[in-house]
């Protein structure tokens, strides 16, 4: 059983670890059978493909940390209700080859068991994320290239 303060501490710690690129903390925070999904159409390919298992999730986090550094990070809302948490945060997210990325907001819904995250569903600006992945000026361009 994980208490409310424990879950809040876990979520804040995982957010801080994402910003700092601290993979050790991220590894410790997720269960072996954890799942991670960015909410969005399956048409967006790897961006929204569900990930299952610790190794797959950590690989995604490592990739994100390497390619999408975060700046000006702030937690805007953090709710804990039983073993669920919801956090809304803001950051500037930049592709390494890009400077001065816009500030964006992300929402995460987490389920915690035995002190570790077993489920993470993340909501982000998929249009902006696709533009970063595709290097296109706007998602419409990326979508047109992928799905004529």
């Amino acid at each position: 059983m994980t208490g409310r303060s424990d879950i809040e501490r876990l979520v804040r710690g995982l957010c801080a670890a994402r910003v700092a690129g601290d993979m050790d903390v991220l590894r410790q925070g997720y269960a072996d059978n954890a799942t991670f999904r960015i909410a969005g159409s399956p048409e967006w390919g790897a961006l929204t493909a569900p990930l299952t298992g610790h190794a797959a999730i950590m690989a995604r986090f490592e990739s994100n940390i390497a390619s999408l550094p975060l700046g000006d990070f702030a937690i805007l809302d953090l709710f804990v209700d039983a073993n669920l948490a919801a956090v809304r945060w803001r950051a500037s997210v930049c592709a390494t080859k890009t400077k001065d990325g816009p500030t964006t907001e992300v929402a995460q819904f987490l389920k915690v068991e035995n002190g570790k995250v077993v489920s993470l569903v993340e909501f982000l600006d998929t249009a902006y994320a696709l533009s970063l992945l595709e290097g296109a000026p706007a998602a419409h361009a990326a979508k047109t290239e992928d799905h004529p």
Binding site: W44, F79, A86, R88, Y128
Partner: protein, 128 residues
């Protein structure tokens, strides 16, 4: 408003949204309410910010007139004080194009004096 009151309020709010009940939606939002669809307008026409009851209702009217919802299911509902976080899924029919998509939405709601003062929604912005 206690926890059960907030839960009932949120469910009523979403029922009004599904039904396109503008009277119920109008009553649910405070005069100084804000309604934001998170994201950069540079990348998606869905991203919006409405401030004040009249502007919020105008945006809500546009949404109700453009998107019809069915098969709505609340997947997560977290309540903390006067705030709620909701993760819900719906099948959305874009009435102007006939396009249908099942999508998930995250929402953060702040309630004061029985009315919504802040609604922030996270949608799949790449859809439009």
């Amino acid at each position: 408003m206690d926890r059960s009151g907030i839960e009932a309020f949120v469910k009523k709010l979403y029922a009004a949204r599904v039904d396109g009940d503008m009277d119920a939606l109008s009553q649910a939002f405070a005069e100084n309410a804000t309604f934001q669809i998170a994201g950069s307008p540079e990348y998606s026409m869905l991203s919006s910010l409405a401030e004040g009851h009249e502007t919020v209702m105008s945006l809500m009217r546009t949404i109700v007139d453009t998107f019809s919802l069915s098969d709505v299911a609340i997947l997560d509902l977290l309540i903390d004080g006067n705030k709620a976080a909701v993760r819900w899924r719906a099948t959305v029919n874009v009435m102007t194009t006939g396009q249908t998509v099942t999508t998930e939405i995250g929402a953060f709601i702040e309630i004061a004096d029985g009315k919504v003062v802040s609604l922030i929604e996270f949608v799949d912005t790449a859809l439009a």
